[in-house]
């Protein structure tokens, strides 16, 4: 706006200047060369009068421009209005400009504590389980990039780091890098968005633990447009070396496929269904493979008018694992059912039931039940308590109280639904 006003005022000045020049030029030839001094003075007086007139006109115009400028004040924050006052900090010799292109950065602390006895899968009494650092930005007009680095007692690792091409021809969405495979629901979630302190037993037993199916690879997904529901098909190829699969040679890749359907039932209720498959070589031997099949269902209820006070998410996932091993195929099944209910702006209550056989030996069956309470001081922090009773296949029963403090600083991008 300011720019155009400036252009206009320059234009007015130019026109004004031309107006001053033009009459003088036009009058030149009209004055006879042999005219007397009086005649010569007369045009000069006329000229002066005209200049005076033009000066007045110019003044009037300038006033008008000033008035226009005042009326069209540059809105705060718009281009040309200046940003937040003060220079950006400059460290070392880099220019301040480089800070502008910095990615959105955030750090999320995940502090977990445990009380009670667990002889099978103990976790420390108090520990900072993870500090997740995220760096997210648009790369160029064609892609965006997301990095999630995870610092944990085991060291620093790349939890995810991928580039997304959202606008490929044919309506394809492609991701390349290290990422959580699109297998089911829990496997795709970062620990800070899980509705529990831990992960379900089925994830631990059949999908390779909390880390799960997380590998380097290429993911391509497409919307299958139809008038009935949201339908998305995803195909992924991975290096095949992760906590579930093992790659013995370059051609031992891991494959994941997923079909997801979603439909709004009412404006506040929706249903989300998915089925996933995964295939890769396992650690039993170069010729042994693991096939995984999963089904997931989520129902969500969140009334729009009271969205910040009330919601319910019911979720279940079922996994079937078929693992080839020298002693014969192991066919294991695992599942969980969970419900989370928000009953006040900052309060959530939840429960989960787990059942899972072990991938290596399906005759070993673990069961667990959990109750949870979560409190959100704000959007950026969360305190959670989980009572968990686990009955392990080996016999011991573990009654544990897990608690968690999650806290986030910086600009963390929104999560996929």
């Amino acid at each position: 706006m300011l720019h155009s006003v400036r252009v206009t005022s320059t234009g007015i000045l130019l026109v004004a200047a031309m107006c001053v020049a033009a009459p003088a030029f036009a009058q030149g030839p009209a004055v006879p060369a042999a005219a007397g001094t009086e005649a010569a003075q007369d045009p000069q007086a006329a000229l002066r009068a005209q200049i005076e007139l033009l000066r007045q006109q110019l003044e009037a115009l300038q006033q008008k421009v000033a008035a226009l400028e005042a009326a069209a004040e540059v809105p705060a924050g718009a281009a040309g209005a200046g940003g937040p006052a003060g220079a950006l900090p400059v460290y070392g010799s880099t220019s301040a400009l480089s800070k502008i292109f910095n990615p959105d950065m955030a750090v999320i602390g995940n502090f977990v504590g445990a009380a009670g006895k667990n002889t099978i899968a103990p976790i420390p009494a108090l520990h900072l389980n993870e500090a997740e650092m995220s760096f997210q930005a648009i790369v160029d007009p064609y892609a965006r990039a997301d990095f999630f680095l995870s610092a944990s007692p085991e060291g620093l690792s790349i939890e995810e780091g991928f580039i997304t091409f959202p606008t490929l021809p044919g309506g394809l969405l492609m991701k390349v890098g290290k990422m959580k495979a699109q297998f089911g629901k829990v496997n795709t979630m970062h620990s800070h968005v899980l509705p529990w302190v831990d992960v379900p037993l089925a994830q631990t037993n059949l999908l390779g633990g909390e880390e799960g199916l997380n590998d380097s690879g290429i993911s391509v997904s497409k919307l299958i447009l139809n008038p009935i529901l949201f339908l998305e098909a995803t195909g992924e190829i991975y290096n095949g070396d992760n906590s579930l699969f093992k790659s013995y040679k370059r051609s031992d890749l891991g494959y994941v496929g997923r079909l997801r359907g979603y439909r709004d039932v009412t404006e506040g209720t929706n249903l989300d269904l998915g089925t996933s498959i995964a295939y890769g070589h396992n650690d039993a031997g170069p010729d042994s493979t693991t096939r995984l099949f999963g089904v997931d269902a989520t129902i969500r209820y969140r009334p729009l008018r009271r969205a910040i006070y009330k919601r319910f998410i019911g979720r279940t996932e079922l996994f079937w694992s078929r693992r080839q091993q020298p002693a014969g195929d192991a066919k294991a099944f695992g599942a969980y059912v969970s419900g989370d209910y928000q009953f006040a702006q900052r309060w959530f209550a939840g429960a989960r039931y787990d059942y899972s056989e072990r991938a290596i030996d399906a005759s070993l069956k673990d069961k667990a039940g959990s109750f949870l309470v979560t409190y959100w001081p704000s959007e950026f922090s969360q305190i959670r308590g989980q009572f968990r009773r686990t009955i392990y296949a080996e016999g011991p029963v573990a009654n544990e109280l897990l608690f968690q403090f999650l806290f986030s600083i910086g600009a963390h991008g929104a999560h996929v639904f």
Partner: protein
Amino acid sequence: MKRFFTTAAGLSALLLIGAAPSRGATLNVVTATQDLASIAQEVGGDKIKVTSLAKGYQDPHFVEAKPSFVLILNKADLLIVVGRDLEIGWLPPLITQSRNAKIQPGSAGYLDPSQTAKILEMPTGTLTRAEGDVHPLGNPHYWLDPENGRRIAKAIEKKLTELDAANAAVYAQREEDFEKRLSAAEQRWKGQMAPYKGLKVVTYHRSWPNFADAFGLEVIGYIEPKPGIPPTPQHTLDVINAMKAQNVKIIMVEPYFDTKTPDSIAANTGAKVLIMPPSVGGVPQASDYFKLFDTDIAMLTGAIKAAGAK
């Protein structure tokens, strides 16, 4: 192994199904909120088809990023956002998942009219989240000033002309007409509010600075102690005391907030709680941008008369 390849083949076949969505002659416009939808409809008329993602009775900060929105965005020719980080919690992943090159930020089909609007409460000095869920780019509820309504319309007209030059004259004419009608209505609204210039009110969230600025209200406090932080007993007491001291008789509450605390404050101060829609569609009668102000002004003036506020 064979079974795997069959499945893989099946999946790749699925990937190939689904041709590019067919597009009609009208521009498919998607807006983040119903306010923008209403203004876009005024400018675009029957040359565009408008869909709003969020409903007016929904808190625009907390909209669920539902996959059904992905389908809507997938077919959009133009996406109009409120901007100023209002939709930061839900819109960016939807845009990424939309597989629609036209509406990616920075593309021709992405419009943020806040760039030319009058924005209030631009933070100055140090900014931390100790202030609550603050908006670092200024208050995003800027559409509640008719002046910004005109600026939004102007921005939309410019964008529609850019995307659909054939109908430029229609858009220009409709935009001019909208501005004229809005200015006339604004005169009327300001006239209705003129007797109460400087009226002190309390609001739940910081949704109303532009409205207060336009119609001469003075917001002396908020039910929320800080943006996004629910009311605390101490803060509620402070609000009650401030309202008593300054004889404040009006509490404005957005339709998506709980009225328990406002009601108890009202009981203690003799004030009236108004469930005032900050957006088109917030209540059924606020069905377009004009009726939004009609509704709000009528509610306000009615309550002032009833409560005898000054």
